[in-house]
């Protein structure tokens, strides 16, 4: 699933300009780090892709569809093809690990047997099978992040959006999460993740898109980040 930003500006009323005149193309299967300081516009850029936000000017197109023209009723169907991982995990606190992951498939009316198989698969993939009956509050930050990743993987998405997935994690746990993301990308899934962690960016040289005060100041394949 390719992504294109064409002269995109995002202004939050009354006068906060989060992104200014962004032009960006991401091809299917790429791994892209979106880097920059806090407040540089990284989360806004990702939320424009997931259609949590709409551009004030310009066009954001994913898979050839202009997201502004997308009907609201079609948004859930669009998101089912995107794995979304938020910095604050966004897990449902009243559900167990298994139920959190099963929920995204159940919302698509996937039959119970298939839900069980797929949930087992992705929980194993993130190494949390023994924690499957626990609720998010009973897990560590790293484990919660892995649940969020497993949930994002449940529908076998073709695009994976992760907003600072390692922001709350120690270095060792962060690297474990990154291994999972690299494995996802190796399977052909487009991964766009925001981070301001230079060690992670520099440990595996991928495409780096750098933002500063809402401007795209660098787009470099095999780039690094000095923070």
């Amino acid at each position: 699933m390719n992504i294109s930003f064409s002269e995109v500006t995002k202004i939050f009323e009354p006068d906060i300009t989060a992104l200014i005149d962004i032009d960006l193309n991401i091809e299917q299967g790429e791994f892209v780090y979106v880097v920059g300081q806090t407040g540089s516009g990284k989360s806004t850029l990702l939320k424009l892709i997931t259609r949590e936000l709409l551009p004030s000017m310009g066009v954001v197109a994913v898979g050839g569809y202009d997201l502004r023209r997308m009907r609201r009723a079609d948004v859930p169907y669009y998101r089912r093809d995107i794995g979304i991982v938020a910095q604050d995990f966004k897990l449902i606190p009243s559900l167990t690990v298994y139920e959190n992951i099963a929920f995204v498939m159940e919302a698509m009316s996937v039959p119970k047997r298939i839900v069980e198989d797929r949930a087992k698969n992705v929980i194993n993939q993130v190494g949390l099978w023994r924690r499957r009956m626990m609720k998010p509050a009973q897990l560590s930050g790293g484990e919660q992040q892995r649940v969020a990743i497993a949930r994002a993987l449940a529908n076998s998405p073709s695009l994976f959006i992760a907003d600072e997935p390692t922001g709350n994690l120690d270095f060792h746990t962060a690297m474990e999460v990154m291994k999972i993301l690299y494995a996802i990308n190796a399977a052909g899934v487009t991964v766009v993740m925001s981070t301001h962690n230079q060690y992670i960016v520099n440990s595996m040289k991928q495409r780096v898109v750098e933002l500063e005060s809402g401007h795209l100041i660098r787009d470099e394949i095999g780039g690094t980040y000095s923070g």
Binding site: R72, F103, S109
Partner: protein, 298 residues
């Protein structure tokens, strides 16, 4: 079918995980529907009582003492008036007999009158108390009628009471419905607000609004339905003993109150249906509005 199962299970989860709010909705819906039911039953009984009083209101019209008058024709003319429910003709002899019966041991006093002075007269029943004044005016305008006798003050009071009770009953009904709707709406809104992040997350991971809304709407409907069942059971359980108590202490009200079991059970069923519908409408409105507001992209 799979989706229905998931939605039912999610509804159960919601009720289990947020049972305090659920209990609050259930109790408030039950109490408000109980008040609504009691108010409505009270109004219905009051209306019944007033209708009975109205049906017992009688206008007595006395004809002039002219033997050439066609009494039947005059009676038919009166019968055709809109307000008239029934008319009964009394001959002078019938009227005297009736008077004698009423006076009992003092009826001998009537012998002093000599010839029977009572002319042909009609006992006229009206549909509603407020019709009496119009009827009296029309009767007075008829050349064949010499005098019209009716309980003017009583008519005015019953008529006023009937009008006021209808208005009060209507206002009470509307108030109870509005308060019940507001309570159900607000408790479901609180319940939704406490889960707003969950709802946002559900939408983010690809659940449709209908899928997210369904368990909440079902929960609201079910809780209101249960509240209505309890309210109706309470009303039905207390109504017949209450009526028996009223009959024992105020026997003159015996035929004026609703005592038909089938009618009261139908009323209970209506209250349950109304509670469930109200719960559904309120839940649907609040859930769709809430989900729309939190899923709207900036």
């Amino acid at each position: 079918m799979t989706t229905v199962k998931y939605i039912l299970r999610d509804m159960w989860r919601l009720m289990k995980n947020h049972w305090v709010l659920g209990l609050l909705t259930f109790i408030t819906a039950g109490v408000m529907l109980w008040i609504l039911g009691v108010t409505t039953l009270f109004s219905l009984n009051l209306q019944n009582l007033l209708q009975r009083l109205e049906s017992e209101l009688v206008v007595q019209a006395y004809l002039i003492g002219d033997n050439t008058i066609d009494v039947e024709a005059v009676a038919q003319k009166i019968q055709t008036l809109d307000y008239v429910y029934a008319i009964k003709i009394y001959s002078p002899a019938d009227s005297l007999a009736k008077l004698q019966e009423k006076m009992g041991s003092q009826s001998r006093a009537l012998d002093m009158l000599g010839d029977n002075p009572i002319p042909y007269n009609f006992e006229i029943h009206v549909h509603r108390a407020e019709d009496v004044e119009h009827l009296v005016d029309e009767l007075n305008a008829m050349p064949e009628v010499e005098d019209v006798v009716y309980a003017g003050l009583v008519v005015k009071r019953i008529s006023a009471l009937s009008r006021i009770s209808s208005r009060v009953a209507f206002i009470m009904f509307i108030l109870s419905v509005v308060i019940t709707a507001l309570v159900v709406y607000n408790t479901i809104h609180i319940s939704l607000y406490s889960r707003r992040e969950e709802i946002g997350t559900m939408y983010l991971v690809g659940a449709t609004k209908a899928y997210i809304a369904s368990p909440f709407v079902l929960e609201g409907t079910l809780l209101s339905l249960l509240g209505a069942v309890i309210a109706a059971s309470g009303i039905l359980g207390a109504y017949f003993p209450g009526i028996a108590l009223i009959h024992a202490n105020l026997p003159f009200l015996k035929s004026s109150l609703i005592t038909d079991k089938a009618t009261i059970f139908r009323f209970g069923a209506l209250l349950v249906g109304f509670g469930a519908t109200l719960g559904w409408v309120c839940s649907y409105l609040v859930v769709t509005r809430f989900i729309n507001s939190i899923t709207r992209p900036e």
